[in-house]
Symmetry: none
Subunit: 530 residues, 2 copies
């Protein structure tokens, strides 16, 4: 029986520290649910009391099936009891299932940053963990700067963590906060520490400042640690945290550990990685280990023919096991099996060979144009169901005209107005409508739904909740010409169901129209309008 | 005396295999010279005989001061002498100082890909190395798939490399071609191999398929290898090669090796990294270890105040030693001390108390409106310099009108056209211009610059390289009303300088205008227009 490694994801907490990353509550909920879906043990959701987003998130947290939701915070302040600490109160009162409390473990920091007595630091850890443990049932201690601290003053660092362990901490997480420790040091130190705190109570939290966060995490596991912290795509401040997308397959496939993730769920890894980038509105790293678009791309002719003889010649693992695919030539089996798995997910009955081929072809065409369906499930479902002949054409656009006007008003203020005029053919009738909006896409949305609502009254109950735009650069291989714009729209209905659609065009308004069209069509189809 | 590690850069050969990378001869010369400049031992320039670019490069190679120029190629074909091999001829006839010859070391590949006798494979290696050594004075053997081969059949793998060593190979380079080997395996295998071939004749060539190419390279060094191969920024096929930008500082600063690079030249590392990205016309990875723009960025208020007390609290090395710098990120978490550090970074003289207060106030107001300056440094700089009274008003917008029209053309095709009309006051004169574009923002950009270029001709040399949009939801605390749109635009000039600006408004076109206005203003200010 393989040892169990517990996975702790901190995308929503430490990952949120990344320059330029700004999760909304909706982002946090979607990401937490996706992590729960693949079988992560702990999802750290944020820091209750630190900002309005995290407060809202913990007030109505998502219902997770298997994962424990963790609230992060600091150990109590100096000279105060844990019970009366204003920082700990929102944590123990939150709806989190477990707490993760950070405290110093490096004497230098206690002297220079906190400027308090060493014993008080140890007491802060002990009291806070005991309090968290009593109130929430599970508390863990993030030992900040543990490795630097251990190298400088091992007695003090060990004193900090044994205090936490004795106070009932489920996990003592050894943090390489500055990210400068080397893998051989990590392995040696964890091995030494495990003589004081058992390895199945030790965790590792690594940063990528020497590009070795993954190696450091795996070194800690070799040293005996049994909890691993990381983030999706290695998100995190400075150079990032340890990348879960690399850790998970290496732990499972290379090292043979049980992570609680099934082989079936492991296949969702590539999708999870891309989904985060879509949420963050940024281009995925093509070269990312395991899940990157180029991770199994074969360029050289010699490589390609060897791979055709036996993929093991130039592939260290099978791309399918992480839900990725080989990129060589047109008709690849991996794309096909991924597609069939997704159809199965959608509950679409297994179609005949001709329909599968039709769908594969239209997918390939769409991807060539710049479409990507990882963050636009509703558009993918429509594409698939259209290929099966299931989706009616609810309306046809004849024309739109959108105008944005910025000028000085009569009252001497700069005002901007947007106005959209649309002509739509609905059930053999041409309908023309005009509307104002607080932007061109809003105006277009309002005008289109005014034109449609008489036939399809349900559309008045939907609204846009998110709108994202990305410019796709011209193709490197020269097969495309100009840059295109990709728009992803997230819509919601009155019951709070959400769905995402995508549109691509050289023109942003045009791309927005395509995404809006899919959004309406998806709602109508899902509600059974035929 | 510290051990000497020899650095072997393969950016121009293995790095050139990266999807989308296509070096010109001029690129190759400039990169080879930059590598020579910082003190790399070996610069692998390409494969003579494989393509016209590499042929031209080796016909008139750059004159390197200290680095040896290496030509790459394959060992001789089966059933032919090295002297008569058409592949080896261009190598030995090239102006390279040394040869690097790749040959199989995994019996599985000899059986499946080559389909020849094992002994013939060994003879191919021996003959080719002996021939290369005799003709060029220095030959090395790239042992392809060495680690997979050693795990499958150690006797055969050792036979391949000892044949090369006995034939006079200066270096036996152990390649993890598929990139799937783990660091502890690499270290153990190199240690075992060094009983057969001395460590100061062993090299390591690692790939990043488990995100551990750097760790694997350093593990090989711990195991005894003394040559390390890698590429600038980890360029390379699939997930890339080992990243020299991370290897060099870790070898020198963390492990104390002598790499032949002086501390003064180590400071050129960040520049070398960015220079490659400029050549490739792509945005540098902000989060890259050591040399990334965010590698020493501090965001949280607590971190910032600790770093102000002593940088060692949150920095594993000094940013200056690799030519990078500390970066204090301006965000709503940041207070006064962040702001002052940032002004210092920009070289703005410490202002009086009233100006600091003015700037803090306007920052707070902007953030309340939805602005964020994390990814828009140029807009932040303009805000700061405006508060100091340093930035002139180059122009004023009187009006714009943008129209997007989608309709059926006379030829029966759906077409979308965007047209922008602008009225701008430049130096007391009202200028009106109209332009078409492949989208409303492009049309607006073209029309605005047409209006401005007569007064400010330099603006014709800038262009948009990226455009990002994000909807900021209504504030959770209820202090705002509607959602606003945040647009971030990245611009570049003819020399490849890039700068990012931000605009916020309920209307996306309006927000885009504000970001464009800042982009023009920043360029004019930076070029000294007053």
């Amino acid at each position: 029986m393989a040892d169990r490694i517990y996975l702790f994801d901190t995308t929503l907490r430490d990952g949120a520290q990344t320059t330029g990353v700004d999760f909304s509550v909706a982002d946090k909920i979607a990401i937490a649910e996706a992590l729960d879906e693949i079988g992560i043990d702990y999802v750290e959701g944020g820091w209750p009391g630190a900002n309005p987003t995290d407060d809202t998130f913990f007030t109505e947290p998502p219902k997770l099936k298997g994962a424990k939701l963790v609230a992060f915070g600091m150990t109590r302040r100096p000279g105060r009891s844990a019970e009366n600490d204003p920082g700990l109160a929102p944590l123990v009162n939150s709806k989190a299932n477990a707490l993760c409390l950070v405290g110093k473990a490096w004497d230098f920091h206690v002297d220079v940053a906190l400027e308090i007595e060493h014993d008080e630091n140890v007491a802060m850890i002990r009291d806070s963990i005991a309090f968290g443990h009593a109130r929430k049932g599970e508390a863990m201690y993030d030992a900040e700067h543990f490795f630097d601290g251990y190298k400088a003053n091992p007695q003090f660092a060990l004193k900090c963590i044994t205090a936490a362990y004795e106070a009932g901490a489920r996990w003592i997480v050894l943090c390489d906060t500055n990210g400068g420790t080397m893998p051989d040091e990590v392995e040696r130190i964890v091995r030494e520490v495990s003589k004081h705190v058992p390895g199945d109570h030790l965790g590792i939290h690594a940063h990528n400042d020497t590009e070795q966060a993954v190696a450091n995490s795996l070194a800690a596991v070799r040293g005996g640690a049994r909890q691993v912290q990381g983030t999706i795509n290695g998100l995190g401040e400075r150079c990032g945290n340890a990348n879960m997308m690399s850790l998970i397959p290496s732990l499972m496939i290379k090292m043979g550990f049980d992570t609680g993730i099934s082989p079936v769920n492991l296949k969702k890894l590539t999708h999870l990685s891309r989904m985060l980038d879509e949420r963050l509105n940024r281009a995925p790293n093509r070269h990312q280990a395991y899940v990157g678009e180029s991770a199994f791309a074969h360029k050289g002719g010699l490589h390609v023919s060897a791979v055709a003889k036996d993929p093991k010649t130039y592939e260290h693992v099978e791309p399918e096991c992480v839900g990725n695919r080989r990129h060589i030539v047109v008709s690849d089996q991996a794309g096909r099996s991924n597609l069939l798995a997704r159809l199965d997910d959608l509950g679409i009955e297994m179609p005949g060979e001709d329909k599968i081929r039709l769908l594969l072809d239209s997918l390939k065409q769409q991807e060539f144009k710049g479409y990507a369906y990882d963050g636009a499930e509703a558009s993918f479902e429509l594409l698939a169901r259209k290929a099966m002949g299931e989706v009616p054409v609810y309306f046809r656009l004849s024309r739109f005209r959108v105008m944005d006007d910025r000028r000085w008003s009569a009252r001497g203020e700069l005002v901007t107005e947007s106005e959209a005029t649309v002509t739509v053919k609905v059930k053999e009738e041409e309908v023309m409508r005009v509307a104002m909006g607080n932007g061109p896409v809003n105006a277009l949305d309002v005008a289109l739904r005014q034109a449609l609502v008489e036939c399809y009254p349900t559309l008045q109950h939907m609204h846009l909740v998110d709108y994202k735009v990305r410019i796709m650069p011209p193709r490197a291989d020269g097969t495309g010409t100009d840059a295109v714009t990709r728009v992803v729209i997230e819509s919601a209905d009155a019951e709070g169901h959400r769905w995402s659609t995508v549109g691509v065009s050289a023109n942003i308004i045009d791309a927005s129209y395509v995404a809006l069209r899919d959004a309406y069509t998806y709602m109508l189809y899902r509600e059974g309008v035929r």
